[in-house]
Point group: C2
Chain length 299, copies 2
């Protein structure tokens, strides 16, 4: 199989289970000795399983120890636990300890841009500080990797941070706008929908519901968002979604049956995941189509 | 193209816009003169566009006038409006007025099984009553079609109702259990997930998040559901979903990294829509695979 100019692939997640580890190591073989593939670990059990598979396959895998910087999802919280797992990884065949990784996704629960900044600065400082502590203990931490579109600009200003992993920024969405991270004209993904019903005053119905716009209302307890996306050029609220319908509430705005509207969704990522293709447009002109290759491939 | 034993296809929704009408009438041609295809209408504009397209294509289309029985989505609320649109449809070429249709989806906001019964009985009585009124006015209403898995058994007991359109019942889910509509052992769809992290006491993390389980917490303002699905055989709450992670909160329950768990989702329908295949199982044995043909096809 020909390589396509890929040098490094990082899976910023725990890879657990024989099937997934097998697919990860297929990628390691595909990259060959000049590329490097890595994933996160936060348990000795996970690291040991990766090591055993690497030895069987005769490949090497980079590993980043995941740190919990406040999201309370995956990752170890105490520097002692992080150091202990890092040392354990150093002793496991087939694995290369690359560094530390965290994701301050709790920034999505922030109420103000100042909260976002505070969380981002903490994310960077916590990880850079842990890296320094580990290095003083003789653990060779290279990569110090932080993440999330809201926090990247803040965490990235912290000395010692070597890698940013924003993802949503490629499109942005109403969540980023609400957090003060992006402006409306920096939102690059919209859902095109058709008005299919105007059955009562103040109500219009779209042919786009939760299967087109997803139900995200802001993560981590956020209360910043109103409705299920912003309808461009209209004074109206996309108040309710059912599977195939979006119900608009308005006060005298004009909606005509058959009219098409564009919606900036609350969260662009799951919207992309709902479609087989994204269409590239310049104004109203379609200039290309991109397949959503990875969606629906969970197994 | 060979027909596959399809006699009647009903699209219980407004079909608006040239592309969608074109696809609907492709189906009408596919069925040929012995089958019948129908859709809902709730506006003269929508009905007129269908009529014009039918005339151009030389096909006939069945039409059901949609009534709002309390969901306040599509559909006309007053019997006067329903009668007027029905008469208008009778005068449009290419269309056959079949009857009336409603969907009491507001039953999903019910707090008790008694609420569900009340809403379902009202759904049936309202539509059957409107049908009788229209018939007395000389409008030939045949089909009296009600919907929704929670209300079907109640609306279906009302004299004059001729058609039930439950959908979710094929799988059921935690929403139906919470409403008292189904028992746990009547839930036929589960999501198989792997424990990928147990980073802190009382917390375990799955490799199934919103892209596997959807974010539904019960429609129409329901507050009956706790968490994002039920983990079979565990005393634990699936407390938070991010895109690729599900965070479990528990008090001393055992979760081992690499362990697989089965989750009955809150809402089975959008879960099916997130995958390319559903796997048929008998116990732990896979006995078949079914493609999710229609997902991702919105356009």
């Amino acid at each position: 199989m020909a390589r396509h100019g890929l040098d490094d692939i990082q899976v910023a997640n725990q890879v657990i289970g024989a099937t997934k580890i097998g697919r990860l190591l297929d990628l390691a073989e595909y990259l060959g000795p000049t590329g490097r593939i890595s994933c996160a670990v936060d348990s000795l059990a996970g690291a040991a399983a990766l090591s055993a598979a690497c030895v069987r396959r005769g490949v090497r895998l980079g590993v980043l120890v995941e740190v919990d910087s406040g999201l309370h999802r995956c990752g170890l919280a105490s520097v002692g636990d992080v150091a202990a797992l890092s040392r354990a990884v150093m002793g496991l065949d087939g694995l290369d300890l690359l560094g530390l990784l965290t994701h301050a996704g709790h920034a999505y629960g922030a109420k103000t841009p100042e909260d976002v900044r505070r969380i981002g600065t903490h994310e960077g400082a916590l990880l850079a500080g842990m890296a320094e502590t580990l290095r003083r203990g003789g653990i060779p931490i290279g990569t110090v990797s932080v993440g999330s579109t809201p926090t990247a600009r803040h965490a990235g200003e912290v000395a010692g941070v070597t890698e940013l992993r924003p993802g949503n920024y490629i499109f942005n969405d109403m969540t980023q706008v609400a957090l003060g991270v992006a402006s409306m004209d920096q939102c690059g993904l919209t859902v095109l929908a058709t008005v299919i019903s105007t059955p009562a005053p103040g109500r219009a119905v779209l042919d786009a519901g939760a299967k087109a716009l997803a139900l995200d209302k802001g993560a981590q307890g956020s209360t910043l968002l109103q409705g299920h996306g912003t309808i461009l050029g209209k004074r109206a609220t996309l108040a309710r979604l059912s599977e195939e319908h979006g119900v608009i509430e308005h006060q005298g705005e004009q909606f005509v049956i058959g009219e098409k509207v564009r919606i900036v969704p609350n969260h662009a990522c799951p919207v992309v995941n709902l479609f087989d293709y994204a269409w590239l447009v310049e104004g109203e002109k379609i200039v290309g189509r991109v397949g959503i290759a990875a969606r629906g491939k969970m197994r």
